[in-house]
């Protein structure tokens, strides 16, 4: 809809009103036209021997004194030549073998029992007059009238005003319904799609602001709301990132200063605290990394990534083993996936004593299961655990290295960025299985792209 149109015309109710008005006008015009044409047909029929005319004329003649009838009949014959109205002194005998003639019903309904109507024998006619039939009517005084009539036809009734009106109301209501459905459905499904595809990390595609005024207003409000949400999130992200960045300088200084602490125990404690702080800021910063600084997806060997994570934790003295194929090629972001799995293993080693990282692949997905033998997580807490800044303990104690509770949510975000998912499940005896599922089909598709890039 062009913006040049008047404000009034752009509103839905105005458009509906115009549509209804226009369809009423069309209906009116059609009805008028149909009445006009059917009247013309009727008029033509009157001169061609319309039985209704004949009934009137019979009554007129019957009500006229006998000595006035001759000029009247003459006058009628002059005015209605096709009617062939004639006076007869005697009633002609009914036509042989006529049986019940349906064509006489109309006349009988209007003329019986005062008048007696019979079908008169008629000569065969051809052409336009083939349907004409002759009748004779006996008047109360014994004389008779003969005339040639045309049978009444049903057609004028069928295309009569009521039928036409109903037909056009049905058509216009259907059209109106279709128009309304289309006009409302299209923008609504656009909204649904836009709301559905609202991704803070992705590029915001503006919802097109077109259509009726109301729809445009909603689209505009929607776009503005999306911008506000993005701005809000961006502001918070920047604030958190600035904190993460700025904390590094004092942590670096403290780290250096602590090297000069003579007392060994005190120094060890301080280094532990500083490591914890560093882990937290690292966690926050990697959580906040935006799409621009995110590494590109590439062809990678997921199995060696998992082996590497297991080796790193094994070197720190944890019992972490890898079980799975030696090589599984997927397309993904190697550093991100390594971080995700490392976070899961870190969690597992914190709550359990033995951790197994299991890699399985099926036709349509690869599954990385990190299994521990710890106490597990109650079902009601599982979903909350995947959110940022939520930790297993209800109280936010800082006496361990669990950081801000970002580990699982970072793993979840990374899994989802790969088109996969992170789920927490209970292990059969006791313990927890954190399972990252990555789609194999999408990854295969990306592999081709990555290979082309490489």
């Amino acid at each position: 809809m062009s913006p040049g149109r008047s404000f009034f015309l752009n509103r839905i109710n105005a458009q509906l009103a115009i549509l209804i008005l226009a369809s009423l006008l069309v209906i009116h015009a059609v009805i008028t036209a149909s009445i006009f044409f059917s009247n013309r047909w009727n008029n033509a029929a009157a001169f061609d021997g319309d039985p209704a005319e004949f009934v009137s004329l019979v009554r007129l003649v019957a009500g006229t004194p006998a000595d006035w009838r001759a000029p009247l009949l003459k006058q009628i014959a002059h005015s209605f030549p096709d009617l062939k109205l004639q006076a007869a002194t005697v009633m002609p005998p009914p036509r042989n073998g006529a049986g019940v003639d349906r064509r006489l019903d109309f006349l009988n309904q209007r003329l019986s029992p005062v008048f007696h109507v019979v079908a008169a024998p008629s000569v065969a006619r051809s052409g336009r007059d083939a349907a004409m039939f002759d009748v004779a009517v006996r008047l109360p005084d014994g004389t008779a009238l003969k005339a040639r009539l045309r049978p009444r036809e049903g057609l004028p009734f069928l295309i009569g005003p009521i039928t036409v009106t109903v037909l056009f109301i049905v058509i216009s209501v259907t059209l109106l319904g279709l128009w309304a459905a289309r006009a409302l459905h299209r923008p609504l499904s656009r909204f649904a799609k836009a709301a559905d595809g609202f991704d803070l990390d992705g590029e915001i595609t503006e919802l097109p602001e077109r259509g009726p005024e109301e729809i445009r207003a909603v689209a505009k409000a929607f776009n503005q709301m999306r911008e506000r949400i993005k701005k809000l999130v961006d502001d918070r992200t920047r604030m958190l990132a600035a904190m993460g960045h700025d904390l590094r300088t004092p942590i670096t200084r403290l780290r250096l200063r602590s090297e000069f602490i003579a007392e060994k125990e005190l120094r060890a404690q301080m280094l532990r605290d500083l490591d914890q702080m560093r882990a937290m800021t690292d966690g926050v910063l990697s959580f906040l990394r935006d799409e621009q600084t995110r590494e590109a997806a590439t062809s990678m060997d997921l199995a060696t990534t998992l082996q590497t994570v297991c080796d790193q934790f094994a070197d720190l003295g944890h019992a972490v083993t890898y079980e799975g194929p030696a090589h599984v090629r997927i397309s993904g972001r190697p550093d991100d996936l390594q971080r995700a799995v490392a976070n899961l293993v870190d969690n597992a080693t914190r709550y359990g004593t033995h951790t197994v990282v299991r890699l399985t692949r099926s036709a349509d997905c690869v599954c990385i299961a990190v299994e521990d033998d710890g106490p597990g997580i109650p079902d009601v807490r599982k979903d909350a655990m995947l959110e940022a800044f939520v930790r297993g303990e209800a109280a936010r104690t800082m006496d361990d290295r669990s950081g801000f509770g970002l580990g699982l949510s970072i793993a979840r975000i990374i899994a989802e960025a790969h088109g996969g998912a992170l789920a927490l499940r209970d292990r059969t005896q006791h313990g927890l299985i954190a399972c990252i599922t990555l789609p194999a089909a999408g990854l295969q598709m990306q592999t081709a792209v990555a290979a082309k890039v490489a």
Partner: protein, 239 residues
């Protein structure tokens, strides 16, 4: 006294540079500190500098371009300090010719270990004809890239390696077809990653074999040499 290595610390945070200087001095280094890139050239003219510790986040001329300019005129080893997660800076720094990097907040002991390792390497390369370390090697279709620190298999898939494994493979690629003793391997890989000192080279080799050999039990690339150590058999080309 003259045998102490002379380290130039370029860092705009005076407290950090002061503390780094203090720490390095207490560990047998001679340290000069500056907070501006402009000072670097004057200081290099005034005295012999053995190594520069360069913070990439400098006011005025940033560390990256300083690093690039230094490389055009000098072979002095450079260790860069970057913020965590600033991958781009790290890669740029290494491409501009930095010898090693450390991300803040760093462990001072690790800084010292890296400085020593870089100094040792530069001392070795000063004696040997090989001057510039090549950016990447290829062998049997595999490609190991020193700057972005990645290994790709013949199909182009990235193979995850720890720092220690990467250092070991790099050492093999720099010396193909030669028998390398465990001590030698420890020596060349030292400093690439802190914590390697205690780790057995054998463990590293078996992990590396698991990742690159088609049959880790019948290794064809990294052969064990009885009584000697290990030998990297593929033909290595500089890419």
């Amino acid at each position: 006294m003259t045998k102490l290595p002379h380290i130039l610390v370029v860092e705009d945070d005076r407290e950090i540079s002061g503390l780094v200087a203090l720490y390095l001095r207490s560990n047998e280094c001679r340290v000069t500190v500056t907070d501006s890139g402009r000072e670097v050239y004057r200081l290099m003219n005034d005295s012999r500098i053995d190594l520069i510790v360069l913070d990439l986040m400098l006011p005025g001329e940033d560390g990256i371009s300083l690093c690039r300019r230094l490389r055009t005129t000098s072979q002095v080893p450079i260790v860069i300090l970057t913020g965590k997660g600033d991958e781009v800076d790290r890669i740029l720094g290494l491409e501009m010719g930095a010898d090693d990097y450390l991300s803040k907040p760093f462990n001072p002991r690790e800084l010292l270990a890296r400085i020593r390792a870089v100094l040792r390497r530069s001392a070795i390369s000063a004696l040997s004809p090989v001057t510039d370390a090549p950016r990447a090697f290829t062998f049997l279709g595999w490609r190991i890239d020193r700057v972005v620190r990645e290994l790709r298999d013949p199909d182009g898939a990235r193979i995850a390696l720890t720092d220690a494994e990467f250092g070991l493979l790099q050492a093999f690629c720099e010396r193909p077809g030669r028998i390398l003793s465990r001590d030698q391997l420890l020596e060349v890989t030292q400093g690439r990653s802190a914590g390697l000192f205690e780790r057995s080279i054998d463990v590293l080799v078996s992990r590396l074999r698991r990742k690159i050999e088609s049959d880790p039990h019948q290794p064809s690339m990294i052969k064990t040499v009885r009584s000697g150590g290990y030998m990297f058999t593929p033909t290595v080309e500089i890419a």
